[in-house]
Structures are given as C-alpha cells and as structure tokens.
C-alpha cells in the first residue's frame, strides 16, 4: 500500500457500506470535525450525526452517518455506524418526509419527554441526510 493511502471501511449492521482506499477522511467526532490522513496514530472515538467526507483521486465524496464509532489503526479506518448512506444513495423525498414528521411531533410537544428526544434525534438525522445529499450536487 502506498504511503499516502488509507483504507476506509464503513460497517453497519445492514452490511458493509463502503470499503475502499482513500487519501483523506473527515468525520464528525464527538469533539468536533476531525480529519484523518495517512499514518495517523491509533485512535478510537465516538461519532456524532453528521457527514463523512473522504477524498479519493482529488475528488470529494460524502456519506451521511447517524452516530457510531471510529477506530484508526495501521492506516485502516473502521467506522461502525448504526446507519450510513452514500450521498448518491440518499432518498431525499423520504428524508424530507421524515423531517416534516419530526418537526410536527416537536411542535405538538404534549408527548412524553422521551418522544421529544426521539423526535429531535430523528430531525437531526433527516436534516443531516438532506444536507449530505445536497453537498453532492
């Protein structure tokens, strides 16, 4: 493997979403955006809901991720996410739908506290999906 290449594996319970050699990775870690280049020191961190950006052959690509976990070791980046989608695979109509539903639920607010929390998370996820899908354009 060339010195400036990192292997990026994105794994979700539904299968392997992405597995390829890339040159840089940017992830939404718990402490903020984090960039990873080749020969990074071993690292473990948690991920927030957000966009993963990776560059391959000077082209930027995006994925939406809804929380998870990241491990870097020996030029291999492993992302364990509850869900992840490539920007081009995102169903925008569905995301917009989900966003509207979540907003509606937040407006009503009469539900239990737990539901508000869940709605907020759903809203965050759907906004993220829409955002990532738009980045692609």
């Amino acid at each position: 493997m060339a010195a400036d290449v990192i292997r990026l594996d994105i794994v979700t319970p539904a299968g392997i979403v992405f597995s390829d050699a890339v040159s840089t990775v940017q992830v939404p870690s718990a402490l903020g955006l984090m960039g990873i280049l080749a020969n990074h020191t071993p690292l473990m961190t948690t991920l927030e809901i957000g966009a993963i950006k990776y560059t391959k052959e000077d082209k930027e690509n995006y994925l939406a991720v809804s929380g998870g976990f990241l491990e870097v070791k020996d030029n291999v980046v492993i992302i364990l996410a509850t869900s992840a989608e490539k920007a081009e695979d995102i169903d925008i109509a569905r995301a917009i739908n989900a966003k509207e539903r979540a907003e509606e639920r937040l407006v009503r607010k009469d539900d239990a506290e737990l539901d508000v929390l869940r709605a907020e998370l759903a809203l965050k996820r759907s906004i993220n999906r829409i955002h990532v899908a738009e980045l692609k354009k």
Binding site: V11, P13, G15, I16, A30, M44, T46, F69, T82
Partner: protein, 287 residues
C-alpha cells in the same frame, strides 16, 4: 379393500396436501435465503464491535460499567425466549421451549419471562411462571428497529435494577437441517475469552473523548448487535426447520400417492377380472 372411488378421493386429497407442503417449502426456502443474507451482512459489524470491545476491555477491571459488572446478588433473572409465531416446522419450537423450561426450572433466583413469538406465549401461558411481557407477530424478517427496541427495553430493565441478569434462549442456526437451542447470558455482558491476548494494545490508542465515554457508546451497540444476530439466527433456524420438515412432508406425500395408486390399479384390475368372469360365467350359463 376400499372401493376405487374411495381410493381416488384419497389420492386427490393427498395431492392437494402435497401441493400445500411443496409451496410452503419453497416459500420457506426463499425466506431463509433472505434472512441468511441479512445474517451474513450483519456479521462483519458484530465482529468489529466485538473486536473494539476486546481492545477496550483489554487490560483491566479499572472501568466499571454497569453493563459489564456482574451484580453481587442475583435476585431476579429475566429470560427472553425467542420462538416462532407459527408451527409446521418440525421440532424447532418445542426444542427451544423445552430448553427454556428446563433452564427456568433449574434457576434458583426469581424468574421473569419475556416471550417472543406466538408459540412461546402459548406454551408458557398455562404454566405457573411469571411473564413480564410478550411480543407476537414479529414477522419473517427481523429488522434493526425491532432489535433496537428490544435491546433498549432490556438494558432499561437491567439498569433500573428490575432484573439482575438477562438471559436469551434462542436457536442457533447451524445449517438448514440443524438448529441448536442455546441459552446465552446477555446482561451483564460476559467477558470474552480473547480479552487476555489483547492486553497492551490498549496503551497504543488515543481515546477521544475518553475510554469511559467510548465504552458507554459501544456497549449498548454491542448488546443491540447481539440481539439482532440472535433474532436473525432464530428466524433463519425457523425457516430452515420449516423447509426441512415441509420437504419431508412432500416426500411422504409422494410415497402415499404411490401406494394408493398401486392399490387403485389393483382394485381396478380386480374389478375388470370380476367383470370378465361374470360375462364368461353368464355366457356359459346360456349355453
């Protein structure tokens, strides 16, 4: 000997039964393929989560996390029984349920049952055990959403102190022909055997925002991925068992049809012989 009409009627009824069993077999085969695909897809994730957990737990008992540390006194145990919603799948359900009952009988602490699947519910309904809850009609394809809901529920029960241990009884999918009922402790998370070898690796890593925070994230994910895998295994086993038993039923039907056809032909020939001898006899009487 049964009359020809009776035999024909029986052949017809066996044939239609055979059609049903054949169709069920093919449907189960298709469903099995689907579940197996998700099982294979889920495998890398489960493996990775396990690996990361082993790395983290590598060195010591230094971080206590409620999900790992066994409780000093186990007073209440929750048994989750994963069985099917439908029958006609050979010994699949009864195997799981028998193991479940034996486990519960052997358990000294107070038990509570969480029953998944109609067959589990019906089996334990008439027995003197405490049932915490049941879920039926879970469908043929376990989804992530279901496993998230179930694992959240179990973690909540565990953390609130309502139960001190959670065990899952399910059937592990070994092959289409072979399923093995198993009882596994889900909570507190049992220590992995590999942990010993991973010592030292831990020192190499940077942890952000901290080891404890990461553990807090990874452990529920581990529980959830384990529950998901168990649900998939159980479902794959159910489809496999149904496929096998339906295939056996179809073969049996073939055999019965063969036997019946043989006796039908015999009866027909006997009738013809009688008829001829009657004609001959009649003709002889005329002369």
């Amino acid at each position: 000997m049964a009359s020809m009409r009776d035999i024909r009627r029986r052949i017809k009824s066996v044939k239609s039964t055979q059609q049903i069993t054949k169709a069920m077999k093919m449907v189960s085969a298709a469903k099995l393929r689907k579940v197996q695909a998700s099982l294979i897809a889920a495998r890398p994730y489960a493996k990775k989560v396990q690996e990361v957990m082993d790395h983290l737990l590598g060195s010591e008992a230094e971080y206590e996390n409620a999900l790992i540390t066994p409780r000093a006194e186990v007073k209440k145990v929750c048994y989750v029984v994963l069985a099917g919603d439908r029958g006609l799948c050979g010994g699949y359900n009864s195997q799981v349920l028998r193991l479940a009952e034996n486990e519960i009988k052997a358990e000294k602490a107070e038990c509570g049952l969480l029953l998944i699947g109609k067959k589990a519910r019906d089996f334990f309904r008439s027995k003197p055990y405490k049932i915490i809850g049941h879920h039926v009609n879970i469908g043929d394809n376990p989804t992530m959403v279901q496993s998230i809901a179930l694992s959240k529920y179990l973690i909540e029960k565990y953390l609130s102190g309502e139960v001190d241990e959670v065990h899952v009884i399910y059937s592990e999918f070994i092959s289409t022909m072979n399923q093995e009922p198993k009882s596994v402790r889900l909570l507190p998370i049992p220590a992995s055997e590999q942990v010993e070898q991973e010592k030292g690796l831990r020192d190499l890593y940077i942890f952000e925002p901290g080891e404890k925070a990461i553990l807090d994230v990874i452990l529920p994910q581990y529980v959830q991925s384990t529950v998901y895998r168990m649900m998939l295994e159980a479902k794959a086993g159910e489809h496999g068992a149904r496929m096998t038993s339906m295939s056996a039923a179809t073969d049996n039907a073939y055999e019965i049809i063969d036997k019946l056809t043989l006796s039908l032909n015999r009866a027909r020939q006997a009738a013809i012989t009688t008829e001829i001898s009657e004609i001959v006899g009649g003709a002889a009487a005329l002369e």
